[in-house]
């Protein structure tokens, strides 16, 4: 049965750092198959908003719900449905690329982890690096590995913070195509991006944050 309500519901969210209010009464509904792009200048609060949505930062006021459940990063049901690629990924120095993805797939209870990991590794073009330790990867390869984490696991909402960062032109094109396909298959996406190619190809709605937003 198709889900009726929004996948993500953000209501009257407020976040301040000391006396400086970064986000004021922000509300957003994202349904399955919808992709919302957050744009805006540096410091406009895109990353802070995403961190509040995923529960990494505490909100001062307001509520965030995922599939009708109050957002809590400690709730396994939430973690099962929420895939995130934000800029805080760290790696086990002694585990290879393929082992990292294998571990994540197993932790999510993916039925055939090896096949899934191999396919996704091929898609993100990291097969030659599959045996490498993370310390030897370039920043672009690390970004591809981070993106791969979102695609090997079950998910109903995908949150991305500047996913295009450090990707080459072909990489951005692949990402745009992939996210578009994800959206068309019914995934809800919220992403912050400065890349017009990505925003144009993927987003069904664009929200400009910050003082010059004009909305």
């Amino acid at each position: 049965m198709a889900r009726q309500g929004p996948v993500l519901r953000v209501k009257d969210l407020k976040k301040s750092f000391g006396p400086v209010t970064i986000i004021e009464r922000f509300s957003l509904d994202v349904r399955a198959g919808e992709a919302v792009a957050l744009t805006g200048r540096n410091g406009s609060g895109k990353s802070t908003l995403l961190r509040c949505i995923i529960g990494a930062d505490r909100v001062d006021e307001g509520t965030v719900e995922l599939n009708g459940i109050k957002m809590s990063e400690t709730n396994p049901d939430i973690r099962r449905e929420l895939a995130t690629v934000i800029d805080d990924m760290d790696f086990f120095p002694d585990l290879s690329v393929v082992e990292h993805l294998d571990l994540l797939a197993r932790a999510h209870g993916v039925a055939d982890p090896e096949t899934v990991v191999d396919e996704v590794l091929d898609e993100v073009q990291l097969v030659p690096q599959s045996g490498q330790l993370p310390g030897t990867l370039s920043s672009g390869q690390r970004r591809r590995l981070a993106l791969a984490t979102a695609f090997i696991r079950p998910r109903s909402l995908l949150i991305l913070d500047e996913p295009e960062a450090r990707l080459d032109v072909e990489g951005v094109a692949w990402l745009a195509g992939r996210l578009k396909a994800e959206r068309q298959r019914g995934l809800a996406i919220v992403m912050a991006s400065h890349e017009p190619t990505l925003v144009d190809a993927v987003a069904t709605r664009t929200l400009r944050l910050g003082a010059d937003a004009g909305e």
Partner: protein
């Protein structure tokens, strides 16, 4: 194109080549992607995940455990050296305590384990507040905590380590001080047990508070324990000095001590039960934050770079605070730098109570009749409490970039960064003067004028020690090593261990030898000239190289002119 290339091109009469322009080629979006089958997830056993990781890691280690220990020999050796010093100091203290026969001295001795008890509690809570106490590595946060697993099953073992450590350290320190205080075996057991179990209970309490996100409760408990430490310390000094008359039999308070131990056990049981059942509710950010802190400090600690360890803690504290109210600067030039330090002190006054508490040291030593070593030991204590006030100097030393942005010589900037701490040291010196004059049971030791000079010399020795500690360069492991019985060792390592302490010993030596404080103050002036960077070898070397480069450039310029000059 470089300036030289442009010049050459111009000289050749050819226009510089235009930068290559490429037309943007529209990239076609791919359409074929892999999507995993929508199978329902299979149940996950967290221990299986850990077993898989263990399997992957099996046989991958590049070093044996002995090699790891051998790599850490620097830390081990230093611990041995410091341990030997500590043991020596304890033995000397025990011999001093053994001759303690007066009623006030005996009572003070009875109260001493209370100081340690509360200090251990405050330290336990500080460590728990700083690191978690339950923590996870950043990689675990990214790859395991992100999955819908039961975190409790992964974290249960992580709770055991801080509990065991708290108990062991508490027990050790409790037994040690009870032993030094001349207690009998039963009393030593009670003191050791109470200190260890109390620390265990507080660690469990901190873990429960972490699960409830009640960091404020730990902070309040920590402040209370620190305040009790100060009160107990003041009581010991007051009683020993004869300012307060109190007569306590050594065993008088033992039931209360045993009660503390029992309370510790109750707290440990309740806290551990609560924490264990709620471990899954600790936010990932909290878990990972402690893990990142530990991994950052581990490297610095292994290299014995205590300055870096402190930098990491200060950075972390600033990051947690996140935001401050901006305050307008005042003055221009160097005065603006000094004023900013005043503002910083107003904004972060937390170090001031430590400075005030350090005044207990000279008074305690005076009360115990240890007037000869008073300047030395008080100066050493002052180093510890003055370091937090030298934040500007530390930043200026750590990276030269900030100093380069300022239009003053490095020596002037460094001097400016010492102004506020120097004022604080002078105030400390004035406040400590009565202790050097002699107001304890031993009576007056020197004239008031001499006492002022000795007190000032002590305060400035502490300041110079702190400046030396803050400005010392980290150990350079790239320099040729010295062959020692314990293996190769960078020459600066040994000096780094004692950095700061050497300044206090040097400056206080004339007072200790009875030559008078004037000599000490003269040495302060000499040390200051060095520490402000007047003879910074790196800077002098850079200046020399710059001068050589300029000379070389001048020479080649002359050569060029000579060659191009037309002959008549």
């Amino acid at each position: 194109m470089s300036k030289r290339a442009r010049k050459n091109a111009k000289a050749a009469g050819t226009p510089p080549p235009a930068p290559a322009v490429t037309e943007p080629v529209p990239v076609e979006l791919p359409t074929e992607f892999y999507f995993p089958p929508d199978d329902p997830p299979i149940p996950v056993d967290e221990r299986d995940l850990l077993a898989v990781m263990r399997d992957w890691r099996h046989g991958r280690a590049t070093r044996t455990i002995m090699q790891v220990i051998s790599d850490g020999y620097i830390a081990v050796l230093s611990l041995l050296v410091l341990g030997a010093m500590l043991a020596g100091a304890l033995l000397r203290t025990q011999s001093l305590v053994a001759v303690c026969t007066t009623s006030s001295c005996l009572t003070a001795r009875t109260l001493l384990p209370w100081v340690v008890l509360f200090a251990v509690f405050a330290l336990t809570l500080s460590a728990a507040h700083l690191f978690g106490p339950v923590l996870a590595s950043a990689a675990e946060g990214s790859w395991l905590m992100d999955a819908p697993i039961r975190r409790r099953r992964l974290l249960t073992k992580r709770l055991v380590l801080p509990l065991v450590l708290a108990f062991a350290v508490g027990l050790l320190l409790g037994v040690l001080v009870a032993l030094l205080s001349g207690n009998d075996t039963a009393s030593i057991a009670v003191w050791g047990g109470a200190t260890g179990l109390g620390a265990l209970g507080l660690m469990a309490f901190a873990a429960a508070a972490q699960a409830r996100e009640a960091r404020g409760a730990v902070r309040i408990a920590r402040t209370s324990a620190a305040a009790l430490t100060a009160v107990a310390g003041a009581a010991v000094v007051s009683v020993a000095a004869g300012w307060v008359h109190l007569s306590l039999a050594p065993d008088a308070l033992l039931p209360v001590v045993a009660g503390v131990g029992v309370a510790g056990v109750a707290l440990a049981v309740a806290g551990t039960m609560y924490a264990t059942t709620h471990l899954g509710e600790i936010r990932r950010a909290r878990l990972v934050s402690g893990g990142s802190l530990v991994s950052g400090m581990q490297g610095a600690a292994f290299a014995l770079d205590l300055g870096l360890v402190r930098d990491i803690l200060v950075d972390r504290e600033s990051a947690e605070r996140g935001h401050v109210k901006p305050v307008k600067g005042r003055g221009t030039g160097i005065a603006a730098l000094v004023w900013r330090d005043v503002e910083r002190l107003y904004r972060w006054p937390r170090a001031l109570p430590g400075l005030a508490l350090s005044l207990l040291v000279p008074y305690a030593l005076d009360a115990l009749g240890a007037s000869v070593v008073n300047p030395l030991l008080s100066g050493l204590a002052l180093i510890v409490v003055l370091v937090p006030f030298l934040g500007s100097l530390r930043v200026l030393t750590r990276t030269k970039g900030l100093a380069r942005t300022l239009p003053f010589p490095t020596t002037t900037i460094r001097t400016a960064a010492m102004v506020v701490p120097a004022i604080l040291a002078v105030v400390w010196g004035l406040a400590a003067t009565p202790a050097f004059w002699g107001i304890g049971a031993a009576g007056q030791e020197r004239t008031l004028a001499d006492a002022v000079l000795v007190s000032m010399a002590t305060a400035l020795a502490g300041l110079m020690g702190a400046v030396r500690w803050v400005t010392a360069k980290p150990v350079d492991f790239n320099t040729p090593m010295l062959a020692t019985g314990a293996g190769a060792m960078p020459p600066t390592l040994v000096f780094n261990l004692f950095r700061g302490l050497d300044m206090v010993v040097l400056i206080c030596a004339p007072v200790l030898l009875g030559w008078g404080a004037g000599w000490s103050l003269g040495l302060v002036a000499v040390v200051f000239v060095f520490l402000r960077g007047t003879f910074d070898m790196d800077e002098l070397k850079a200046q020399q190289e710059q001068a050589m480069r300029e000379q070389q450039a001048l020479k080649s310029e002359k050569d060029k002119i000579r060659v191009s000059r037309p002959r008549r």
